[in-house]
């Protein structure tokens, strides 16, 4: 079974985000493999261990996105593909999906695994676009994945439990952080990753043309800071007040 995992390099969640002069989120330092993608890589590795095959990491980003791919390779993935092109700076979700789709089509995988959403963008729009462009079904929010004889079955997380969703492969799945605890790269893995292939391709190699982004950022304002609310001394009635607030918030 051939599995493609889409991976992205994002600002380190442990560092402070900064903005560039054009209001894009600064991605030039302290970048790491997206923590959600680590879970995707882990799930792919577990599927490979159970069923055999190959795990290919596909990414779009500047040259330094290789570091994120390298991290996945050190966990055990077989090789990487990086679409790096100056023309892709500021790409929106659709252009990103078109680029990834072209790169993934060249691999003809049985399964494409994406994180539910990226750590930095957090909109989760690329996976369904990618599924559409690849012409495959999407099985999303998976907290469990099983592959049996050309079909894939997931437990799709819902607000009150889960759905069992099944489809034939090829298919695209998105995985939540609940899917698997990412393994640490061993020293051996890190050494091995150095000699694994990361194929670099340009936009023109894929035959994808740049499109106008879906949106233009016209301006930024500070979000409202959280204001102090009501502060009460517990005189024995505080519990009643908390229960009221819980009821208003509809969690009770």
């Amino acid at each position: 079974m051939k599995i493609v995992v889409t991976v992205k390099q994002v600002p380190d969640p442990n560092s402070n985000l900064t903005l560039e002069s054009d209001n894009s989120i600064s991605r030039d330092r302290e970048v790491v493999l997206d923590p959600g993608d680590e879970c995707g890589v882990e799930e792919a590795l577990q599927l490979k261990e159970a069923h055999g095959g190959e795990v290919v990491l596909v990414s779009m980003g500047p040259d330094r996105a290789k570091e994120a791919i390298r991290k996945g390779l050190s966990m055990g993935a077989d090789r990487g593909v990086l679409v790096a092109d100056a023309g892709l700076a500021g790409a929106d979700a659709l252009l990103t999906a078109r680029v990834l789709a072209a790169a993934i089509k060249a691999e003809s995988p049985d399964l494409v695994i994406c994180a539910t959403e990226s750590y930095d963008g957090s909109t989760g729009m690329v996976p369904p676009m990618l599924a559409e462009l690849l012409g495959v079904p999407q099985l999303t929010f998976a907290k469990r994945v099983e592959v049996v004889d050309g079909s894939v079955k997931v437990h799709r997380q819902t607000a009150d439990g889960y759905q069992v969703v099944e489809a034939s492969t090829p298919a695209l799945i998105t995985v939540t952080a609940a899917i698997a605890e990412p393994r640490y790269a061993s020293l051996k893995g890190i050494m091995a990753a150095r000699s694994k292939e990361i194929k670099q391709v340009a936009l023109s190699d894929l035959g994808v043309e740049k499109s106008e982004p879906a949106e233009t950022i016209e301006g930024l304002t500070d979000a409202e800071a959280r204001k102090a609310g009501e502060v009460i001394e517990d005189d024995g009635t505080a519990v009643d007040r908390i229960v009221q607030v819980l009821a208003q918030a509809k969690v009770l």
Binding site: G124, M125, P137, V251
Partner: protein
């Protein structure tokens, strides 16, 4: 007048509440059309009419309920070809965003996601979108036609205002080729332990709890509310609870409906991981603790007394 198509998401035969919030905003933006697909769509149409729909396109084919995203994408794409709305609105919910993503890719137009507001301007639309970890709000102009915008739930208040409410059968048959991601079973599981990141209610404890022996008080409350238990870095560093429970800069980020901070002072390291929670309740002995300045409800008192009493009150209310 712009025409706005609202995707009225159906969830197990019922109209998703976000759909009516979208209707309220759509009325401000132009003529409102709605599309409801799957079981219960006709009944939902009557409600959508009361909320200002001029025309409601319905189709009750069970395939819309049983197969993820693709049948709905087909139906809306064909409706788009006929009606050419200027704007298509979706809720930013897990089901709607899958349909919106496929639709945008099929129409080749892109979309604006995660919006908190939208307005008509110069014959087009601009959306406001939380940005940069929520510290900023970006104003984004939609460049595509149709504009496709996904709006965060609870951004608008639903309100009734009757529209012409003409109900039209949407004439589509779901192709076998779109019946692929098949929902074969639906499982409700209140009992499974709730994950911190996914919980609707998070109760976190800090040094003010006095010691690890008091964390079970938080677990009892979490169980009663169907929530999960988190912790501040201070108590994780002190070895009271495992790192997997840490909320904050170097731990997990959570965004529950209600966050209850118990005995947590509210250092920046902690609050960056929970400040986007919808409602924050703080219980602390210190009225001057920073957490009190950002909580919707701050209770100054003894957590070891308040928490068990709260657990009992929650249980009583649930069973009463």
């Amino acid at each position: 007048m712009a025409s706005v198509l609202v995707y009225a998401e159906m969830s197990q035969g019922k109209l998703a509440s976000t759909s009516l919030e979208l209707m309220a905003k759509a009325r401000e933006l132009g003529d409102v059309y709605a599309v409801a697909l799957g079981a219960g769509a006709k009944a939902a149409a009557a409600t959508l009419a009361k909320h200002g729909a001029k025309v409601i396109h319905v189709n009750e084919d069970g395939a819309f309920d049983d197969y993820i995203a693709e049948p709905a994408t087909d139906a809306i794409a064909s409706l788009y070809e006929k009606e050419k709305p200027d704007l298509i609105l979706f809720g930013f919910t897990s089901d709607s965003r899958e349909v919106a993503g496929r639709l945008a890719a099929r129409l080749g137009v892109g979309l604006i996601s995660n919006a908190s507001d939208i307005e008509a301007r110069d014959g087009g639309f601009v959306a406001r979108v939380p940005y940069f970890g929520g510290a900023k709000v970006a104003t984004m102009k939609a460049n595509a036609k149709p504009a496709i915008v996904l709006v965060r739930p609870k951004s608008f208040e639903a309100s009734e205002k009757p529209g012409a409410g003409q109900i039209q059968q949407l004439d589509v048959s779901v192709a076998d080729g779109s019946k692929r991601a098949h929902v074969t079973e639906r499982v409700a599981e209140a009992s499974e332990k709730v994950k911190l990141e996914d919980a609707r209610v998070v109760i976190s404890g800090g040094r003010g709890l006095g010691g690890p022996q008091n964390f079970p008080l938080l677990e009892d409350l979490a169980n009663a509310l169907g929530g999960a238990v988190g912790a501040s870095r201070a108590v994780v560093d002190a070895g009271w609870v495992p790192y997997s429970m840490q909320v904050g800069q170097t731990g997990k980020s959570v965004r529950p409906g209600v966050y209850i901070a118990v005995g947590i002072s509210g250092a920046m390291q902690h609050t960056v991981g929970m400040k986007t929670s919808k409602i924050i309740i703080a219980i602390n002995k210190d009225a001057e603790a920073p957490i009190m300045k950002m909580a919707d409800l701050g209770v100054v008192g003894d957590a070891l007394k308040i928490v068990p009493a709260l657990t009992a009150a929650v249980k009583a209310k649930k069973h009463g």
